[in-house]
């Protein structure tokens, strides 16, 4: 993609209303555009980042046997009344449809997926099942000041699993936990994302959050030393969880846990039979008895992950995208003026494109300082500068976004900088 053809431009400043670090950088670099608090458009660069994140999630959900579906945002009141949540979920957007019918905009889909899948679960032979969607969701948040980290409208992957018995759910829950760790690893957040114990409701001692540690986080969690595990604020006084997680726990030891700020990027939850019971969605077991499937739900917010990467991995000069997430691999900058050199640059751009490497080519007629500042702000993993002198020497200048030193390399090595992106 040529920067001269890209639909967006970088901006020096954003409006005061976006105070969060992720919104500042993502807006200035042209990844997102704000419509109102907590509601953003994804622009071409941002769309590519979002797709990369969603495709990683999709790949891992398919890997544990999830089948992709797409459920509606519009949901009738009656299904929310069946589960007793119409009046309890305070962030529910409510509206009137034709015939004055009460509707909600889905912030989650237990009320839809349970009766939907019940139509296909009559026998123990129909279990287990796991379906997921990657979809736009809605929460009527009172305050939404954190860019992509707390949206009123946001992207969500939610997987729902249905099992014959608790053991089967427990085994799948472990698989899903491992898949979540792989997702955050592939998104570049693996080292700073902690499996965090949270309260579990009546069907399970705990649920689990995935919390990305950052001073800009809105949540407070307590890290268990020398582990990748943490405990959230809600249950830090629960001696049972403390005894389970801290070897040789003695009362008071919880004060030694490291208190850190974090962003919740995912959560997984054992739902038990509550929702199946609400819809009277039973099945016939091998012995002829009627049972309810035991359910689990597994959420992760792709747009929030995008915000978390922007919030946690950027530096003072702008965004810093991990290789698998970046909208393009290489930011190619031409700093030449005369026709012969410009043609050389064009040929190098074409050559890189032909080998399947994704390249953002700054072919604009702009000052060197502006081009280099934009490259830092946009934050692709590799910057290649083509200057008059290096081109004359049949060389190019290469710098990684995460490093400060650049390297002069011969042009024949330009194809080795970044891998061709798989089409997966």
């Amino acid at each position: 993609m040529r920067l001269s053809q890209l639909s967006t431009k970088t901006q020096k400043q954003t409006s005061d209303s976006d105070v969060s670090r992720n919104a500042q950088f993502l807006t200035r670099a042209g990844y997102i555009g704000r419509l109102m608090a907590g509601v953003y458009s994804f622009l071409p660069l941002g769309m590519r980042v979002l797709n990369n994140i969603e495709n990683i999630i999709r790949d891992e959900m398919n890997g544990i046997g999830g089948q992709e579906i797409l459920m509606p945002a519009l949901q009738p009141k009656d299904i929310w009344e069946k589960t007793g949540r119409w009046d309890k979920v305070d962030i529910l957007f409510k509206l009137k449809g034709a015939g004055n019918r009460d509707l909600a905009l889905g912030p989650t889909h237990e009320e839809v997926v349970t009766p939907l899948m019940a139509g296909f679960i009559q026998s123990y032979r129909d279990l287990p099942k796991a379906v997921y969607q990657i979809q736009t969701k809605f929460r009527n948040e009172a305050r939404a000041k954190s860019g992509l980290l707390r949206g009123r409208e946001f992207r969500m992957k939610d997987l729902y699993s249905f099992h014959n018995g608790q053991d089967d759910l427990d085994a799948f829950y472990e698989e899903a936990t491992a898949a979540y760790h792989r997702i955050f690893q592939r998104c570049g957040l693996g080292d700073i994302t902690l499996l965090t114990y949270a309260s579990g409701g009546i069907f399970s001692k705990y649920s689990h959050e995935f919390q990305t540690v950052t001073p800009y986080g809105e949540d407070v969690i307590y890290r268990v030393p020398e582990t990748d595990i943490a405990i959230n604020k809600e249950i830090i006084d629960d001696r049972e969880v403390l005894a389970e997680l801290i070897p040789g726990y003695k009362p008071g030891d919880e004060k030694k846990l490291e208190e850190v700020k974090a962003i919740e990027v995912g959560n997984i939850f054992k739902l038990g039979t509550r929702f199946a019971a609400s819809f009277n969605a039973g099945f016939t077991d091998a012995d002829g008895s009627q049972k309810f499937p035991v359910m689990g739900c597994y959420g992760i917010g792709p747009s929030r992950v995008m915000g978390a990467i922007a919030e946690c991995l950027s530096d003072d000069n702008g965004l810093v995208w991990p290789e698998q997430i970046a909208p393009y691999h290489i930011h190619l900058v031409s700093l030449v003026n005369d026709a012969a050199d410009l043609e050389k640059c064009e040929n190098i751009y074409q050559q890189l494109c032909d080998t399947g490497v994704s390249v953002l080519y700054d072919d604009r007629d702009a000052r060197a300082g502006e081009k280099l500042a934009d490259a830092d702000l946009i934050g692709l993993p590799h910057r290649i500068i083509l200057g008059k002198k290096t081109l004359a020497d049949n060389c190019f200048e290469w710098k990684k976004r995460t490093e400060s030193d650049s390297h002069i390399l011969p042009l024949e090595q330009i194809g080795d900088i970044a891998p061709a992106r798989s089409t997966k």
Copy 2:
């Protein structure tokens, strides 16, 4: 995919509330599930069909220079007041957000895209631009009885183009028209989809609809003989359009036009400068003068296209998917019982998967009649039957969904039936 592993099952009947042909077949075959009138879930098979349609559209939009974005469904009242449409658009879903703020759910996105792109259009050098999204949209329809053909929540591709002057818009509009023809051709609706003249508003004589001819259609259009062009009901009394489209037109000739029923699957519209003027979104032209960009919008409904294919191309036994749209290419049916034959079937399934052909394998322990009826209902382009006798002869039985005759072929030719699907 093994049918025994698929999350859905076929059904003999659907509830009475879905009277349309497309909803009947798509529900019975397990492609969609109804939540309420005009609101459906897409199940794994349906998701694959929808993705195939959306990827064809994406490919053609990228081909004319469109850049993909994603805009919000939640839209504040003030932008709809600026264009004077808050009270005029009767199908607008309205709701209250935090702080009692009035919001709408987007049925279209002129109010969002115009100020959004204005931030990147300061100079004539920034034009033309074309951005599109493929997104869930909302219309508060009074009646929604036509399955995927008239949804309250539905998938939509909307592209918006911005130009310096009418000539540039006109040229792009022609390109978009050609791209639309290619989309319907690739979706298997090319031969029955007519470019239909409709009224144009103040900036253009006409707009254009793409209407798919079917006795099940809700619209009435008038076909110009020996052409792929039609005129819609709204402007059939407009002598100017009649004179333009019918060679040697004389008053009264319009009575000779063939009246047919049809489904509107797309529409394109020259918007002029109306929306840019509403948002005072001007640019500086080469001569220093201030101008408004001339806009066009180009809509197509992927879920409606899916419904139109189901409505128009199915037969009495079920769905009939075109090769590029089908969720899988081959429906592989094993009609054997003993272990050695079942192992042969497993090997053939694996072999087909390994060559990159997409296969739905009916490995269920079910009666032959049920398996064959399900194959017809699900509607994949190729059916392969593996029976005891044909396997003993190292053969397989192949039938196209669109043909009644089957063929016995040697097993070594099984890889030639369907092409490996490109990853594009």
